[in-house]
Each structure stands twice: as structure tokens, then as C-alpha cells.
Symmetry: none
Subunit: 233 residues, 4 copies
DNA sequence: TATGAATGAGTGTTCATTCAT
DNA sequence: AATGAATGAACACTCATTCAT
């Protein structure tokens, strides 16, 4: 669509519009890439919401960070809350995709368990936005998680993987029986998550820089040991 | 406790105190009371910030909840962030005060350890605002915690208590040696905290109501067991 | 002057301009017009700040007077102080533009000097906002003037004009030599400015309506005479 | 008056009051000095309003500066505008009192005229608050000056002094006749006032520090010369 | 698909002023 | 004469969202 606007000084007088002749369009049209724009918005939003939460995050800032017109956020996502929902969904699917790549089924039970703990630790360490996003989700009572069907489909598979892992360990005689895979799963998440999400208050309370390289390595070992002792026969 | 204060205009002259006779208490009248107003604001703010975070919490709502004029918040606390700081400080001191009352030093090491886990669990369960406040503090990189000197004074004592507890267990031959009290402490907090703070997302992800009475009891037992196995010789 | 702009979406393609045919002008329609909105805000702000000063002027009132949404003031100017800065800059440039049109260089020195005094008087008389704006600027120690580069560029030219005027008068033998053009300039401004800016207190103090037509004419003559006597050989 | 207040914890229960027994009063009573308090408020207010104008000046700040309870301002002056009125009145009377001390009547006309110009210059230079106060008064169309009767009584005397001075000069043959004493008076004020009140914008516009010692001396000489030439026969 | 301009309801904060003692 | 606590209206400024092109 092209426009012809007639203005008197700075005041617009009238305006007509019509179809763009092909020859002009060829030269004038800027490359527009819907999927890339959507992705840029989503990435920017993840950073913004991770940094300031849903309440503190600003639509304007997201638009700036994504280098898109603010209007595009509404075009692609509908509104702030929907954008947040999309960010959360993507974050939850991302970690699940990474977990899938672990292929725990093909490892020995003990090694698989250590691997799972180490993976969780490293994922949280390298994707700290995930932690604050999960906190934000829970601050709002998971209202933004309920909507998403994709997540519900992905997660049972994961619990099942841990269940199989426990069963294989019991069969091999290295894990004790009767451990609830969900409780275990929560505990693995907990010991990694808490240390990192509360690293700021922790560093003050315990008067110790929890993010020093050596401290981090220590913590991972401590957590692996905690889970080993929890599951062993 | 009652007080009699003799003042000349506004200048205090002297003050005595004693037990309140019932007959007078009956007639107690609400008048201007700075300390009570301050407290009402602080309580309302704790609820508001716990519910919506620092970014989402509204000064107007705090004033409404506290039934005070909005201006009073600025009169007593200076501003929103300072109010949040005051809320956080009080929350951290509250849990510390409760911990102190446990008197772990007078218990056998094994019982003391179970007690500590159970106390942590129950405190979080009954004071869920504490969890969201801590999350908010960390979302803002503990900026609001740094200022407070009172907190820094209180906490080393707690770590020391756990340290003594571990030492006593080692001496008795029931705990293994070489456990870092801070790592242990973080783990105890983690396994209780994570389950409760992420109860909403957890209930969806695991398709299980994590807040059912029986589930809660189960989790406490699971956590006690986790720590027992972690520390035992 | 009219413009025809061809745009593809929002991207300008080409633009031509020419004289406006009357028939089209008649149908002129108000549409979205950034420049006009900006101008309306600036005009309203000038009136508001001139009336009540920077401290007393209200952003809300400016928005009302300009018939724009209050948000637009922040959109176009950033904030109250920046708006004031813009108002001040425009006011200073306006008087300079008017001074330029005088073309003192083409007049005989004596006439040019009288003209300059009369111009200053009449400009202040017809643009009383300028006087209060200058007062406001100085109340705030010219903080809002320092920023503007455009003003600094414009003013040396004016001093130079007066300098040339004095030189021509000296050469012609009608003005005495050794007069500092800046001191002269300040005095010309002073005798006109003071009478008008302090017209309210003056009318009370001297118990005389300083703004009566005859009084005003008298004052202009008095001022012309003052400067004549000051510069004459 | 003394008070006995009974409080339960922090909540006040009841309160009685009575006359202070003399023996206690002797020791407890703080010196209270109404006139001194009033003066402190007035001084603080003059500084505040001179600095920020009526719109920008804050009652709180005045109270702080005066080290009195804010309530006292209302007790002594009624309100902000009344306080401003009082400040303005005092400022106008102060300069009149100083002018009176000049005793121009006992000097030769030429010397008296120079003295008047120099006095005006020096008074403005040493009391810059007077200049901004006058500006503020006029910004508000002298609304705060109209009320005051004391001023109206004082000022005619001054005009009369200048009138006599002119007459004496004419009689002596050193001043020309026909000069309006009010116009002269305004001009004397103007050339001193404008330079100083607009010192900030002037220093930028003319790219010259108008407040340098030498510049100030120059200006005074320039002004004396201006008036000499204006009045001389 | 993309954009600059516009909006109304809020958001933290401050103001001059008054109350009760 | 003096004070600390309290108030409501207003303040500058920001928010998520929509309009018109």
C-alpha cells in the first residue's frame, strides 16, 4: 500500500492511498521477517521479565531491547500478560528439550543420577533467567502456566524417565526401593535451585560470596553427594 | 505492661511502668499512636509485597490495607523502597527470633537435626510471605538487604548453632565429620523452601496437588530422611 | 507552501513542494500532526510558565491549554524542566529574530539608536511573557539556558551590531567614544524591562497606574532621551 | 500545663492534665520567646522565597531552616501566602529604612544624586533576595503588596526626597528642569536592578562573567555616569 | 508487517494545612 | 507557645494499550 499525503507547511491536508505498482515495490520494500521479529521480542521479553519480574518489567523496554515498534508486541502476542505466558512456556520447554538430550536411559543408574544432578545445576547456573521466571510464575500462582497445553504434554515423560532410572537402580541393587520419583525430582531441583536463586541474600546472610568458582564446584559436589546418599540402597 | 508518663507540653519529665489493672484496660481507648500506626503499615506492606512483589505492590493498596493516610507511609518510612527494606528486615529478624527459641543446644544431636528440619518446614508453611519476600529480595539482587546492619549481627549466631550441632553429633559418633555447616544449612532450607515456593508450578508440572495435607506430611518426612542420610556417619 | 510526499508505509519515497492552490486549502482537515502538536504544547507552556513561573506552572494545565493528552508532553519534551528549557530557548530566539529584522545597519546612527530603544520597549510591551520567563530563568540561575547551544550562536551577532552602530556614530561625530556596547545594551534593556516587569509593584509604590496609555508613551520618550544623553558626544 | 498519660504497651489509654506546680515549672520550663521565633521564621522564609519563589518555596523547608515546628508558621502567620506577604513587607520596609539613613537632604545635589545611585547599586548587590522577592511579587501581580498599609505610608516620602533633590539641583543650575522624579527613580532602580537580577542569563548571553569584581565596579561607574548625563542641565 | 502519535488510568511522591495534646 | 501525627488534594511522571496510516 502506498500513500500520497498533501501538507500545507506542517499541517496535513489530505491523503490518498492505493496499491503499490510492482516495479516500485521491488525496490522499496524492506525485508520483513515475521518469525525473526517474533523471536527478537520473545528473547527481549525473557531478559526483561527475568530481570524485573512481571510487575516490574516494562513493555516499552521490551520493545526497545527487541528493536521493534511497541505495537508489534500487541500484534504478535496480544498483550503483556500473554507475552509473559509465551516467555514462560518457552522457558519450560527449553529446559525440557535439554533434559531430553541427556539420554539417561542409556547410562548406568549411578552415573545417570549424578548426571541428572549435574545437568540441573549447570542448566540453572547458565540460565539464571529460568530461576527468576519460575519465581515470577509462582508469585502469580502459576496463572500463566495453566494455560499452556504444550508443557503438560512434555513433563510426564520426564517424571517417567526418573522413575525408570530409580527402577533400574533398584533392580541393580544400588538404589533403595520405595522412593517417590516426584519427591526425588523436587529435591534434586531444590538443592540446586535454592542455592542459585538466593545467591544474593545468601551471600549476605552467610557472609560468603556464594558465586566464587570454587564455592560453585563445592556446591555441585555437595549436591551430588546429597542425592547419592538419599537414593543409595 | 502499662506506662505512666509525665510530660510538660511535649517534653517528657518522668515515666514509671507496671502491670495493667484489669479495670483500666477495659476502658482502653484508641487515640493517636505512632508506634501502632507504624506497625499497621508494616504489616499491610508485608502482605502486599508478599502477594505482588516489590514491582507489583502498590503504595496505595498498602495505605488502604493499613487504614492509614497514604502520606503516613512517607512520614514513617520515606518511600516505597525504604518500606520494602523495613518489611524485609523484619521478616528476616522474625524467623531468626523463632529459630532462637528452638534451643537446639539442649537436645540430642539426632533429635536436634530433625527438629531443625521440621521447624524450617513449618515456619515456611505457616509464613508463606517469607518465601515470596526472599524471592523479591533476590530478584533485586538483595539491594534491600545490604543496608540492614541488624540482620548481619543476628545470623552468624545461627550458623554457629548448626556448627556446634554437627560437632556434637560427630563426637557422639552419629554424624560424619567434614560437613560444612553452611552447605548443610542451605540444603535444609532448600528442600523445604523449593517445594513450597514453587507449589503452584509444581502442582501443574507434576499434575499433583502439592498442598494436600497428606502430601505435605509426606514431604516433611522425605526431607527429614534426606538430611538424616546426608549427615549420618 | 504545500508539500506532496509519497510514502511507502511510513518510509518517505519522494517529496515535492509548491504554492498552495486556494481551492485545496479550503478543505484543509486536521489530522495527526506531530509538529503542530509540539507547537501547541510549546505555546501553552510559554503562557503557563510566564504566568506562574517554573515552580508554579503545572504540567496538567499546560496539557489542558494545549488540548493534548498530558502524556504527549513527556513524549515530545521529556519532562517539565525540559519543556521549560524548550520554552526559554524559543523565547530567546524569537526576540533575536525580531531584532534581526530591524536592519539597524542601514539607518543613520542616531535614528538607529532611537529605533533600538523603541523596538526593545515595544517588544517587551507586546510580549510580556518574555519578561517573566527571563525572571524565571534567573531565579533558577539560568540553569535552563546553559544547555542551549542555539542561543549562544545567535547573540554575539547582536552585540556586534550595537558595536558597529556606536562606531558609526563616533565616526560621524554624534556619539562619544569609549562606550562599552555590552554596558549600553544592558542599559537599554534595563530601562525598558524594569518599568514593565515591575509594573504591578511600581503602580502601588508610586501610587500611579504605570500602564495607562499616556504613561507608557511618556516612558518610551523618557527612555529614548536617557539613551540619547548617554551616548551623545 | 502538664499532662499525665497512661499507656498500655504503646497504646495510649487515658490522659489528664493540670496546672504545673511552681517548683517543677521553675526547672522544667524551656525558654520560649515568641518574638525570636517569629523572627526566625521570617528570616528563613525570606531566604526560601528568595531562592525558589512563592510557587517553588516550601513551608516545610522554611520550618526546617527556622528550626521551628511547622505548626508555628500557621500560628504566627496564618499560612504560606500570608507568610510571603509578611516577608515582602519587611523587605520593602528594610530598603526604605536604609534609604532614610542616607540623609540626601544634607548633601549637595550632584553628590546626593551619585550617592543615591551608588546606594541603590550596593543595596541590591548585598541583598540579592530583595531582587528575587520583587520579581516574585510582580509575577503574582503584586497581590501580596496591595494588602500592606505600612508600605504605602513609607514610600511617598521617598519620592518627595528625590523631588526635592531635583529641585535643589535645578535651583543651583546643575540639573535641568522638567524631570519627573518618579521616572528618574524608576530609571535609577532599573539600571542597577536589571544588571544584577539578570546576572545569570546575562553572563551567558554576553559570554562575560558579570559578577567579577572589576565588572561590578565598572557597572556602578557606568550607572552613575548614565544618571549624571540624564539629569544635568 | 510496521510505525509514530495518542490515550486514560494509574503510580510514587509532595504539598499546604489541621488535629489533638 | 509548642509539637508530632495526620490529612486530602494535587503533583510530576509512567503505564499498558490503541489509533490511524
Amino acid at each position: 500500500m502506498w500513500y500520497v499525503r498533501l501538507t500545507l507547511g506542517a499541517s496535513p491536508i489530505f491523503c490518498v492511498r492505493g496499491e503499490m505498482p510492482v516495479s516500485v515495490a521491488r525496490e522499496a520494500v524492506r525485508v520483513r521477517d515475521a518469525e525473526a521479529t517474533r523471536k527478537r521480542i520473545l528473547d527481549a521479553a525473557k531478559r526483561e521479565f527475568a530481570l524485573l519480574g512481571l510487575g516490574g518489567g516494562r513493555v516499552d523496554t521490551v520493545a526497545e531491547k527487541a528493536k521493534v515498534n511497541k505495537r508489534m508486541i500487541y500484534y504478535y502476542f496480544g498483550g503483556k500478560e500473554d507475552l509473559f505466558t509465551a516467555v514462560v512456556e518457552e522457558a519450560y520447554l527449553d529446559i525440557r528439550r535439554a533434559e531430553k538430550r541427556l539420554d539417561l536411559d542409556s547410562m548406568e543408574p549411578e552415573a545417570a543420577m549424578d548426571t541428572l544432578v549435574a545437568f540441573t545445576w549447570n542448566y540453572y547456573l547458565k540460565n539464571p533467567e529460568f530461576l527468576t521466571l519460575v519465581n515470577s510464575v509462582n508469585l502469580h500462582k502459576a496463572r500463566h502456566l495453566k494455560i499452556s497445553g504444550a508443557i503438560k504434554k512434555e513433563y510426564p515423560g520426564f517424571v517417567h524417565t526418573v522413575e525408570r532410572l530409580l527402577e533400574r537402580g533398584v533392580a541393580k541393587g544400588v538404589f533403595r526401593s520405595g522412593i517417590d520419583p516426584i519427591q526425588l525430582n523436587i529435591t534434586i531441583a531444590a538443592i540446586n535451585y535454592y542455592y542459585l536463586t538466593n545467591r544474593f541474600s545468601g551471600s549476605i546472610i552467610y557472609d560468603r560470596d556464594l558465586m566464587e568458582k570454587q564455592r560453585l564446584d563445592e556446591r555441585l559436589q555437595f549436591n551430588i553427594e546429597t542425592i547419592r546418599r538419599l537414593v543409595r540402597a
